[in-house]
Structures are given as C-alpha cells and as structure tokens.
Amino acid sequence: MRNLVRVQTDDFDLNKEYNRLITTNSTCGAVVLFSGLVRDFIPPQQLVSLELEHYPLMTETMLGKLSMQANARWALQRTTIIHRTGKLLPGDQIVLVGVSSAHRTDAFEAAQFIMDKLKTSAPFWKKETLMPNPDSKPESYWVSAKDSDEQLAQRW
C-alpha cells in the first residue's frame, strides 16, 4: 500500500510506521516523519484533557485526497497519515505524517504540505478542558482556528 490513511482512537507506533515507509527494494533515500503531540499549558494553567471530534464520513476521504495531491506534486514513494480522535491527555500523540522519497526535498515539502492542508481542511475539532490554576474548577473551550495556519496553507 503506497498511501496509508487511518483515523483511530488508538495510539500509533512511530517506529512501526517508519519501517513501513522504507521501501524494501532500497530505492528509498529519505524519510520525513512529523509527530504532533498534546501540549500542556504554561503553569499555573494546566490542560486536563483534549477531546477530538471529527466528521467520520469525511475525514478519511479528505486525508486520502491530501495524499493524492502530495503524490501529484512531488516524487514520493510512500505516505502515511494517522490522526487520532476521542479523549487525549497532555503528552499524547495526536497526528503522524510520514513521507518517503528518493530525495530529501520531496519528503520535506510533501510532509509540510500535508500538515498545512490537514490543519485547515480536515474536519477535526479540538475541545480543551483546562484548569486556569491548580485550585480552580475545570473549564472547557473549543479551540479557535489560527490565522497563521490559514496563511501556511495558502503558500502551497
């Protein structure tokens, strides 16, 4: 399978995905892996958990399209996109993007392209539950989209 897309509640194993990306006939010269993690706040704020909602019928289709677009623009061997949903905790892995190619620039650019487009077009939404300080009650907010992400997506 050249392009793997998975949306799952389970964690993923980066090393296993790295080994899958390396093609067995030794024509692979470069692998770029991006791992996105649940980042805690700066104290006294504290992230309790992150809930990832998605549009099940649309997410895998969208991510598959991104893989195909990346393959059309760069000379790639294999791609991997794995995105988790459901409840996550600080330090948890959220998303993995991996690309293998003969030359490094293709893998670097394609991985960035996929992440930039995923950030603005894949139907996932984050809801944070946080403690403003250690003694307060937890509060929940939907995360707002960032203008900087929109700008990064526009450059491709």
Binding site: Y55, M62, L118, K119, T120, A122, P123, F124, W125, K126
Partner: protein, 82 residues
C-alpha cells in the same frame, strides 16, 4: 430530503447534530440556509457567521454549491485538528 449535519461548537450552539430537511425546492447552499432559517428563526445569527465552513457529500463546498435531494450537507466551524 437533505441530511444536514452540524459539528463541534456549531452543533453545541444549535443544540442539534443532524437535521433532515424535507420539501426543499432550492438549488444551492445559500437557498438551503434561507430555508432552514425560515423554519428555525433563532438560528439566523449563527448561519450568518462568515467563517462557517460547508461540505457537500464529504467534500468542501461553498454558498453557491449546487445541491439536490439525497445529498448530505454539513456545516461546521473552521477546523482545528492536527
């Protein structure tokens, strides 16, 4: 009949995850919005939200995208995954 889905913040503000729109005779998303607001007047302000994203049959769409009976339409806030 058109199936309409709402997600995330929008779903919570509307208090509705799925809406089944009957007897819609319009041709595009703009007309669908007007039709829905006529039936749910208190949703008007929410549907005027400029940044609202639209998908038709699981592909990104816009206000002038054509729709027909049997389509699945989704409205949602800007995405924040990754």
């Amino acid at each position: 009949m058109i199936k309409v889905c709402f997600f995330a913040d929008l779903r919570e503000r509307l208090g509705c995850a799925e809406l089944f729109v009957q007897d819609f005779s319009g041709e595009n998303i703009n007309q669908l919005k007007t039709f829905i607001v006529k039936q749910h007047p208190h949703w008007e302000k929410i549907f005027l939200e400029k940044k609202l994203l639209i998908a038709v049959n699981h592909a990104m769409a816009s206000n002038d995208t054509a729709i027909a009976a049997g389509d699945e339409v989704a409205f949602f806030p800007p995405v924040t995954g990754g």
